[in-house]
Amino acid sequence: MLKITGIHKTFNPGTINEVHALRGVDLTIEEGSFVVVLGMNGSGKSTLLNAVAGSFRVDEGSIKLDDRDVTKWPEHRRAAMIGRVFQNPFSGTAPDMSIAENFAMAASRGKTRGLGWALSKGLMDALRDRVATLKMGLEDRLDNAIGSLSGGQRQALTLLMASWIKPSLLLLDEHTAALDPKSADQVIELSKEVIEKDGLTTLMVTHSMQQAVNLGDRIIMMHRGQIAHDFRGAEKKRLRAEDLLDCFEEIRRREQLDESAAAMLEQLYI
């Protein structure tokens, strides 16, 4: 279970580049829930994910994961509980190392790494079986450098790596945005399968309304560093992509209205 309470984050405070990226986000995600985060560019959705992962410390508020307060934990310590897939297929794997070695590191996520062999026989056997289920023919290429694979293959493997040890929370950060449509579909199918198999608590950021509608049991819409809408339960099930688009349109219109109203007031009174 993830419990976020009142988190704020300002980047570059006191400079002209100051960005108030998170403005008081409260969010509780129940065990086994699959939450999709939507939002326009700059709405703070990726920042929210990074705050949970620990890429930076939040200025205010607290983050609790499985009843443990991880607010002050560094990223690598939180990694013991969090599995992660990045937007960039190059981010989640070590390109010059073999597929097997990449998985060996995933198999020791959050554990103390000692002088045991990274590529134990037990791991190799389990790995071959698991990778074979991808039907990408990679099970015979476990010794190949992972950098020689396509983006889709790398994202699929990163997903398996992130869930090799069951994480308390799975973070997917627009993990299909950099892929061609066919690979994106494959990775989405795999994500569904992995999440359902272990009932993983998941937080996924996406740009795709269709993905948001098809996946998960709850949609959160971010706007200007806050949660603007929260659809869940029956409401989420009824939701269509068009409804989400309307929602966005409404946010945009309200914003324009605010701006034009401000301009009008300015003209009248200043």
């Binding site: 990223e75 690598h76 190059f90 989640g92 190392m97 590191m105 020791s108 554990k111 002088l115």
Partner: protein, 309 residues
């Protein structure tokens, strides 16, 4: 023949330095100039202990530990204090110059009288062969010289193999990933900062080990002996990569050892042909420059006709 034997021996001893540079430069992608100071530090620690009658193995091990400490200081400056990696190395190298003079107490310690790994090997060689020299394919070879060469070879093989095994353990694999993709290995729960510190400690430990052996072989430790050694190591690593081609871990380590020996041989031959020893560092630097630039030039040359087609 003695010249050739000497070149082989020094090449093998410096292959430990080359492996150290391989760890920092190739695995962690940090051109770590601490090397120049830590090779002298290794020589200095070993020399002082040897002169005071310590066992050569103890003296050599102490030297490696000293180098590891120097490397971890560089690592701490770089990771904890966020100083640029190159600058951290320069700072520690500069500081080490004074440290080395303090360790030695003067700028040069001769080891001619001390019992060293070299003198032990020589004695063992003469005892095994039962004569001062023997016939090898028609050449007269000193039994002592040959024994020292074998010792150096053993040292290179043992250290190379240990390094290979280490980088295949869980912690070693995570350290390789730290250089390859820090974001990824951080997301998998590794402490990237700690790994970099460990890696630089390992690298400089190897370098200091090389320095300790070098001092025992050439019979002295000198405050100036480290100048330009990191470039020497880079040259060995680059030659090694060209020799073995592949990028697999085992091959590159073997290549680094071969590269160091080959480079030393080339230098010995060049000196024999009348190369001014004063030009040696210049030539080495030019060589590394060429080795770094040539691959890109070659790619551009290859790329041109393709883009025209």
């Amino acid at each position: 023949m003695t010249l050739l034997l000497g070149a082989f021996t020094i090449g093998l001893i410096l292959s430990l330095l080359a492996m150290g540079v391989y760890v920092s430069f190739r695995i962690f992608d940090v051109p770590d100039i601490t090397t120049d100071g830590s090779i002298t530090l290794g020589a200095a620690i070993a020399a002082v202990l040897l002169v005071n009658g310590y066992n050569p193995l103890v003296a050599t091990a102490a030297a490696a530990v000293g180098g590891a400490v120097a490397g971890s200081v560089t690592g701490v400056l770089h990771t904890r204090f966020k100083i640029n990696a190159l600058l951290s190395g320069i700072l520690v190298m500069t500081a080490l110059y004074s440290v080395n003079l303090h360790v030695m107490g003067r700028s040069n310690i001769p080891l001619m009288q001390a019992r060293t790994l070299t003198s032990y090997s020589e004695k063992a060689g003469q005892w095994l062969i039962g004569a001062n020299d023997f016939n090898l394919f028609g050449w007269r070879v000193g039994a002592g010289d040959a024994a020292v060469l074998v010792t150096a070879l053993l040292a290179a093989i043992i250290v190379g193999y240990a390094l290979y095994l280490f980088f295949r353990t869980n912690v070693g694999t995570a350290m390789r990933a730290t250089g390859n993709n820090p974001q990824m290995i951080r997301a998998l729960g590794a402490n990237v900062e700690r790994n970099i510190i460990l890696g630089l400690a390992l690298s400089n430990g190897l370098v200091a080990l090389s320095g300790a052996l070098l001092a025992q072989y050439q019979g002295f430790a000198d405050a100036q002996m480290g100048i330009g050694m990191v470039v020497w190591g880079l040259a060995s690593v680059i030659i090694g990569e060209a020799l073995v081609g592949g990028s697999s871990l085992g091959l590159t380590i073997i290549g680094t050892i071969l590269g160091s020996v080959l480079f030393r041989l080339l230098v010995a031959i060049a000196l024999r042909w009348g190369l001014n020893p004063n030009d040696l560092k210049l030539i080495t630097a030019l060589f590394v420059f060429a080795a770094l630039v040539l691959p890109r030039v070659m790619r551009q040359m290859k790329g041109r006709p393709r883009s025209a087609a």
